[in-house]
């Protein structure tokens, strides 16, 4: 079963003469352990797609299924709950809380979900260490480089162990070296930790890290290309493992 699935996903803004079709019957699937990039010119519907899949916005037509659950059948509260447990977001500008430390930022989703502080802290430290920030735990965002801040944001996205990571231009604010690091991490998150990663980007170099690229234009999928990597066996193993679990 696909972790992310959309069926004829359509979003129309405005009415009458001023109607804008942001997304036009988009069908896509992302599997566990798969890293998919969405590319296209600005205004092609990339971000709308991510918002609909993440339940931040409701479609005009069509459906989004996360781990088999049709999010349109859920109340707003239930969507929020589902999003908190199944989806991790990574944004272009990190969206960290300036007065909180790396650990406190990364632990936030758990804290908000009522997990005990000790436990939240332990899990945040675990993810930050895996992402190479074990020695920056008590730094505040302004004491970290852009790449490090984005890694804190990725730890925050992963701390609730979601099946899905949605990344909106995650390297848009980073230099090329840090961009490569972050793209490499997103690849690991799918390959090693078996998450479904869907990333919107306009940067070909960053998209090239993915297993598959979907091209969007005027709200429609116009092309799709699968990249056969030497790492694809690894991804296959992770998928097999997850199915056993």
């Amino acid at each position: 079963m696909s972790v992310i699935r959309t069926e004829n996903l359509t979003k129309i803004y405005g009415a009458g003469e001023a109607v804008v079709i942001a997304l036009d019957h988009v069908n896509l699937r992302v599997e566990a352990g798969e890293f998919v990039a969405v590319m296209g010119p600005s205004g092609c519907g990339k971000s709308t797609l991510l918002h609909l899949i993440g339940g931040l916005d409701r479609p005009t037509e069509g459906r989004v299924l996360l781990d088999g659950t049709d999010i349109a059948t859920l109340s707003d509260d239930r969507v929020t709950e589902l999003r908190r447990r199944k989806v991790g977001f990574v944004f272009q500008f990190y969206n960290l809380i300036p007065v909180l430390s790396a650990v406190e930022n990364a632990a936030l989703p758990l804290t908000l979900d009522g997990v005990k502080p000790e436990e939240a802290r332990r899990r945040a430290i675990e993810w930050l260490s895996r992402l190479g920030l074990g020695d920056r735990l008590s730094n505040r965002p302004d004491q970290l480089s852009g790449g490090q801040q984005q890694r804190v944001a990725i730890a925050r996205a992963l701390v609730a162990e979601p099946a899905i990571i949605l990344a909106d231009e995650p390297t848009g604010n980073l230099d090329s070296r840090a961009s490569d690091e972050i793209a490499g991490l997103l690849k690991r998150i799918s390959e090693e930790w078996g998450r479904a990663v869907l990333m919107v980007t306009h940067d070909p170099r960053i998209a090239a890290y993915a297993d598959r690229i979907i091209f969007l234009k005027d709200g429609k999928v116009v092309d799709e290309t699968r990249l056969d990597g030497k790492g694809s066996d690894e991804a296959g193993r992770v998928r097999a493992k997850i199915e056993v679990l």
Binding site: P204, A208, Y209, A210, D223, T225, L227, K230
Partner: protein, 193 residues
């Protein structure tokens, strides 16, 4: 470039035999899969360099196995190498098979230029993906030269992909213009007024 200057450069480091030269060349250019040379090409080049007096056969080694000729660079060879270092290398960005293919796909009935672009784009992304993985695996402490070569490839592929997007966006515009035509040159003697 011919393999000739690479051989001169490698021999300027120290004398070597043919097999060693081939291995050293392939390591230098980023592996056999990147730029392979046949042994025959190495030996033919060595023969020509020897004929021109740029390289000389220094010794023949034979330890039980087949004989190995050791080659060394001559002073004339060093001068040739120096003049190579002193000149620039041309680029062939404007001599582009894909460009020709795309333009003709606009002009030939039944050909689909959008499909031509898509096919090319998929291939470029696949290549970029492969190079990116290679680059990730390379160790910057010991393989910096190889990494820099991969970086160059990445940058060119990135440029090719961006150019493809640009062309795709303007395809209808370019279609409205005729293909570049040869200049009409008047035949015969120019007329005097």
């Amino acid at each position: 470039m011919s393999v000739r200057f690479a051989i001169l450069g490698l021999l300027a480091q120290r004398p070597r035999h043919g097999y060693e030269l081939r291995a050293a060349f392939e390591a230098l250019v980023g592996g056999e899969e990147n730029w392979d040379v046949k042994p025959a090409q190495i030996y033919t080049t060595l023969d020509r360099l020897e004929e021109s007096g740029l390289v000389t056969e220094e010794a023949v080694e034979q330890e039980g196995g087949p004989e190995k000729r050791i080659y060394a660079i001559t002073p004339a060879g060093r001068a040739e190498l120096e003049s190579w270092f002193a000149t620039s290398v041309g680029s062939e960005h404007q001599r582009d098979e894909f460009f020709v293919k795309l333009m003709l796909s606009l002009a030939v009935d039944g050909a689909n230029p959008y499909k031509v672009i898509q096919t090319q784009r998929a291939a470029l992304y696949q290549r970029l993906h492969d190079v990116t993985l290679q680059r990730q695996r390379a160790d910057p402490q010991t393989e910096l030269a190889h990494i820099l070569l991969l970086d160059k490839t990445v940058m060119h592929l990135e440029a090719d992909l961006r150019w493809l997007d640009m062309v795709e966006a303007r395809l209808d515009e370019v279609r409205r213009q005729p293909l570049p035509q040869p200049e009409v040159k008047p035949r015969g003697r120019p007329r005097r007024r």
